[in-house]
Symmetry: none
Subunit: 202 residues, 4 copies
DNA sequence: AATGAATGAGAGTTCATTCAT
DNA sequence: TATGAATGAACTCTCATTCAT
């Protein structure tokens, strides 16, 4: 009788945390941490201001959780997209596409990650060190299988990957108002990286 | 004609502004826009709080001017370093070195530019569009002289340059506590870009 | 006749109230009225926050009842201790001892009475007028039986008794961390009062 | 030309601290610490709410300063009144009168001291330990000059004095709405104490 | 130009109380 | 009766900005 949409999964749909996190993501995607007030988040989530503190200890705590959940989502999306691929070409192509996809579909989500630098520097470091570790590991693998010039420092290459993702992906997605990063942009980025990182004799 | 009190000696006229700008740069390099108060800036500059408004209309106005001055300085430093060089190799090497140099010697200055995104998005766009235009112009030149693959979109390449500068330069400079970006990092970055952007047949 | 659900077994009926009163006494003995929240009281009593209002109309109501119950207990303890004694010496000795005893064994209980002054002044007056009346009645009896100087105003003497009890008893008990008020303190207090209140010719 | 009332002594009459302290005393004398808000204090002092924080770091800081200033004033008033007197009779009479006088003229001031126990217990202890020390010193002097039974513990006697002052003085002054403690009350108190503390053979 | 006390709107947060279950 | 999430008024405190001097 009760339609499924009215039977919230206990602890998930009715969960105030989830509701607030979603509302907050929408707001932080557009406005700065400072100008997004707890009151606005609650209004967006359809609840009274005080209720906020039943779910989070502070605005800051919510922000931290939000950034961590974005981190998880981005990494999971990339991992899923890459799957079992091992050739550098496939890994880069699938990985970047997944990354750009997330950025395009959740416009502003990356803005939040960037703002983390100013809201909580240690949170930001945590975020990027985690990503950098994963990239560097991948690069080392490519070097062993002869797909990347072994003379390059894997850590620096990881940073370059991030720079491209961070800037190209983000800037493109946002300065173009949330439209998907077009295939030719991805192709160009791919071409540069493929050639640039290749072993000299190839 | 102009009464002396209204025509301050140049270099003394700008004193208040310059003093405040310098004080503000020091503070914004370490703390967020929100936590740096007008009172703190004035204390750092050695003047009374109210005096601030004799020189700037608002905290925001000072911030805008600060970011613009950083933009000017960075571009000037790069232009000076590049000088008359025309070979892509020289331009990239000299340009990046100058950029990394500024970042290393004025640690935190880039932090301010990044924070601009959250303080005043349009200012941030202005900053990057200006940079991107210059880069894209350079890339087009290189394509005409056969130094860069003409199939690549100059705008995308400009964004990649920026991504590398933004992330590699900044991250390196800051996560390593202001030490200079070492030469081998620059060399690695150069190698990747040189190869990656080259014409296929080269 | 009365359905079982409506006629709770005595001692079970009061369960909720009793539970909350006990929990509250423990908390109010250590923290101020303001910092003891309804939620804390309920946590201490092992029930949900909302249940509080099944037993009390408000935090204030509970506080009033708590203070009144302390009043009852103190007076009862003193009355029991004094018993049938009529000599001033016995009455004072036994009464004070009983009073100090209660204070020592329920440390912090007197704190609650004192705080009543700031939570509800009229409750505090009620408390002390009740006590003062009893003391003054006793003093008048002693005056009639020639045990207290008839020139003294019984009301003032009652206040002095209270001052001594209030301050000596309370301060001693609390500044000495709940240790019993030692016998020699009581003896000294007794000596002073005995002499001080005696008829001149005694 | 400028009337003296318009030329505030620098740092005193125009002093926001003084203004706020006076306003706060009036309010705290009537309402509890909690219900006296910073906004009310500022309204009473005729200034904007935010100004408060130009003079005090917090409501708590103001309260501490207020209690300490009361402590100073009470002790000074008593010291001045006692002057060079050395006979116990004079010292007690003059001291108590001065104490009762202050209480009567600044109704509610003692309420503030009492509330300190709940606002800041350590402040309250500080207050009473300071007073107790002075009293005990006096008592020891009286014992040496044979004016007080040397068998009594000076500390306990000090507490009794305080109990009488605390309770008689305060209660009387307040339950009778600020009227002076009448001479006969003081006389009665004196009589009891004089006899009570005397050396047995006297 | 300079001072610094004053302003007051607005932020985050707490908590007694309510209410649907 | 019992639950505990939701409510929202009220509080303390901050800070960009103003203004009399």
């Amino acid at each position: 009788m009760t339609p499924p949409t009215e039977r919230p999964t206990p602890g998930q749909d009715a969960d105030g945390r989830e509701l607030l996190l979603t509302a907050a993501e929408r707001l932080f995607a557009e406005e700065s941490y400072t100008s997004v007030t707890v009151a606005k988040i609650c209004a967006q989530a359809g609840m009274a201001t005080g209720t906020f503190y039943a779910w989070f200890e502070s605005k800051h705590e919510l922000f931290v959780e939000l950034v961590r959940s974005i981190n998880r989502d981005v990494r999971r999306a990339m991992a899923v997209a890459i799957g079992e691929a091992t050739s550098r070409n496939d890994v880069e192509r699938l990985g970047f596409r997944a990354f750009f996809e997330v950025m395009s579909h959740r416009p502003g989500v990356y803005r939040i990650v960037r703002e983390a630098e100013f809201v909580d520097p240690s949170l930001f470091r945590e975020y990027y060190e985690q990503i950098a570790r994963g990239y560097a590991r991948g690069v080392r693998g490519f070097q062993q299988s002869g797909q990347v010039d072994p003379a390059l420092d894997p850590e620096i290459v990881a940073f370059m990957y991030m720079g491209v993702g961070y800037f190209v992906g983000m800037r493109w997605a946002e300065w173009t108002q949330g439209r998907s990063v077009p295939d030719d942009v991805q192709a160009d980025v791919m071409k540069v990286l493929t050639r640039g990182l290749a072993r000299p004799e190839d």
